[in-house]
């Protein structure tokens, strides 16, 4: 059986008295499109930094396709492409030079140029290949940063919030390209704040909170398990009957959002309102999304 793309075993990380990671266990199989979600400070970036060898774990270990990221770091890093969260660049060089250098560090030479061209094309950077990194716009710098992580054609690709501050057009282009890479067999691991992205793209999701994984399942089953329907009722300035108060997830200026598991609960809410003589001014019903799961798991007390 093939090795998992990523295997995380009991990883702890402390920075002084701060416990950033408290025993993370996680296995990501080859070919997966996996999302790691969590609020700021949940430990996602710390976990990715340990995976990338940028910081060392206090305990536990991580392997990439069977290679330990500390003891066999050369093999592990060959297999890994990491897009850092910070928008960093080297002002001395142009895009193509940077990609050639990056591939060169991994032992790739001119034979890799066709792949570099493919990345430039796929990320819409072809006409910027000879532009100095300094002169690129923010969005273009972000593309170049992603291109650099892909330059050595790694089978496992980690994108740490790649779409933060990126316009819609680039986001779509980026995801088309990443989806193609995933179809070609690359394992993709993504952290994002845009939950709809994770929902649309990723087959499996891990949610982190305060250095722990609080949910780990397929996207579909998470949605089934945690969420049902959202009922948005515009009721005006009223006092809700006690029996349905616990079902309210959000209340804002007379608009109440109820998180409900099935149709019977909808009927129940409406009948309680009718009995209490509360008039429904407007009503919307929607399926719950990953954001609801996210909020119910990590949002409220974080």
């Amino acid at each position: 059986m093939s090795q998992p793309a990523i295997k995380v075993n009991g990883v702890h990380k402390s920075f002084g008295s701060l416990h950033a990671l408290n025993g993370i266990d996680l296995t990501i199989e080859q070919g997966e499109f996996f999302a790691l979600l969590g609020p700021n400070g949940a430990g996602k970036s710390t976990l990715i930094s340990i995976l990338a060898g940028l910081i060392k774990p206090s305990a536990g270990n991580i392997s990439v396709m069977g290679f330990d990221v500390v003891n066999q770091y050369q093999q592990a890093r060959q297999l890994l492409g990491v897009v850092p969260q910070e928008l960093v660049f080297d002002p001395f060089f142009n895009v193509r030079e940077m990609l050639r250098f990056q591939a060169g560090y991994f032992g790739r030479g001119r034979e890799n140029d066709a792949w570099v061209d493919e990345i430039l094309e796929g990320l819409g950077l072809a006409d910027k290949a000879h532009t100095n990194m300094r002169k690129l716009s923010g969005g273009m710098k972000r593309r170049a940063l992603i291109a650099q992580a892909l330059a050595h054609k790694p089978p496992v690709i980690v994108l740490d919030e790649p779409t933060a501050g990126v316009d819609v057009e680039l986001r779509q282009m980026l995801w088309e390209f990443i989806k193609k890479l995933n179809r070609d067999g690359h394992t993709i691991i993504l952290t994002t704040h845009y939950l709809e992205e994770a929902e649309a793209l990723c087959s499996r999701v891990g949610m982190m909170k305060q250095g722990e994984i609080v949910a780990l399942d397929s996207t579909v089953s998470l949605l089934n398990k945690f969420a049902g329907k959202n009922l948005r009722l515009t009721l005006g300035d009223v006092a809700l009957p006690v029996t349905i108060q616990s079902l309210v997830r959000n209340q804002e200026q007379g608009v109440f959002t109820f998180a409900l598991s099935d149709m019977a609960q909808i009927e129940f809410v409406l009948s309680v309102l009718r009995t209490a003589n509360i008039k429904v001014i407007d009503m919307q019903l929607s399926e719950a999304d990953l954001e609801d799961v996210f909020l119910s798991l990590v949002g409220k007390s974080s």
Partner: protein
């Protein structure tokens, strides 16, 4: 998708191509701004040469039969070699750290030894290029004899390696540009100015002669100058041993720092 065979082939390529790529990048980095990294130190050395030779020629007795200007030139060349070797590795590292782009190197399979060798050779080459340019320009002013060319080369090579290594240590240690400036202003500048570039230490009172002998820069300058005139304040073999041993000690410290990930990997 990636068989063990292709993985081992890739790691074999990485052994040579990886550090070679890093060296190439480091060389291009200073060459792109050669006006600042090569031309500027050549002009500075030339100004020292013009001013000091004008003021002191005929007033200062150094070695018998060696005019002061001729005495001064090897010292200025070596001082520039050393300062520029230090500047190359230290400024590249501090810039990469402050800009954050050092992450591009930290994410690669490059070993600590490969990292060290690439930065070291880039520093040596920058030092030698600057030194050679000053030598070529100085030839316009005075006809310099060369008695022991291999000594000149050995001291330039070892001296730039020593300062290049020291630059790596400074670049790793410093977190901010002002800390790096402190390294330059409080260590490199005093040590290079008080090393006998502008005078023979035999012209100093005995106490200051002893103090000068504690300065490793003195041995690099004196040994380098010995290559030109066949004369020096101490034996070139003693100087060569001291410079070589200092390089080995600093290289060992640097490799330890890099291996432990000190200040680079938390």
């Amino acid at each position: 998708m990636t068989s063990p065979k292709t993985t081992s082939q890739a790691s074999l390529n990485a052994t040579f191509r990886g550090p070679w790529t890093l060296l190439k990048k480091e060389l291009l980095r200073f060459w792109r701004v050669a006006f600042q990294t090569v031309a500027a130190p050549v002009i500075t050395a030339l100004l020292y040469l013009l001013i000091f030779s004008h003021v002191l020629e005929g007033h200062v007795q150094v070695y018998d039969g060696v005019p002061y200007t001729a005495f001064l030139i090897p010292g200025l060349i070596m001082m520039s070699v050393l300062q520029n070797a230090f500047a190359n590795s230290s400024s590249s590292l501090i810039q990469s750290k402050v800009m954050g782009n050092i992450v591009f190197i930290l994410l690669t399979p490059l070993t600590h030894l490969q990292f060290f060798v690439a930065f070291l050779f880039a520093a040596i080459i920058r030092g030698l290029v600057v030194g050679l340019c000053i030598y070529l320009v100085a030839m316009w002013f005075i006809d310099l004899t060369i008695v022991h060319p291999w000594l000149i080369f050995a001291f330039a090579l070892l001296g730039s390696a020593l300062l290049g290594t020291f630059g790596i240590i400074a670049g790793i240690w410093a977190d901010r540009f002002d800390q790096m400036a402190a390294f330059q202003n409080f260590i490199i500048m005093p040590l290079s100015f008080l090393s006998g570039v502008f005078y023979s230490i035999h012209s100093l009172p005995p106490f200051w002669q002893k103090v000068s002998q504690l300065n490793p820069f003195f041995y690099m300058i004196d040994g380098f100058r010995y290559g030109f005139f066949g004369k020096g304040d101490v034996s070139p073999l003693i100087s060569l041993s001291i410079v070589g041993a200092s390089f080995l000690v600093l290289a060992w410290i640097t490799l330890k720092m890099l291996k432990s990930g000190y200040k680079l990997r938390a």
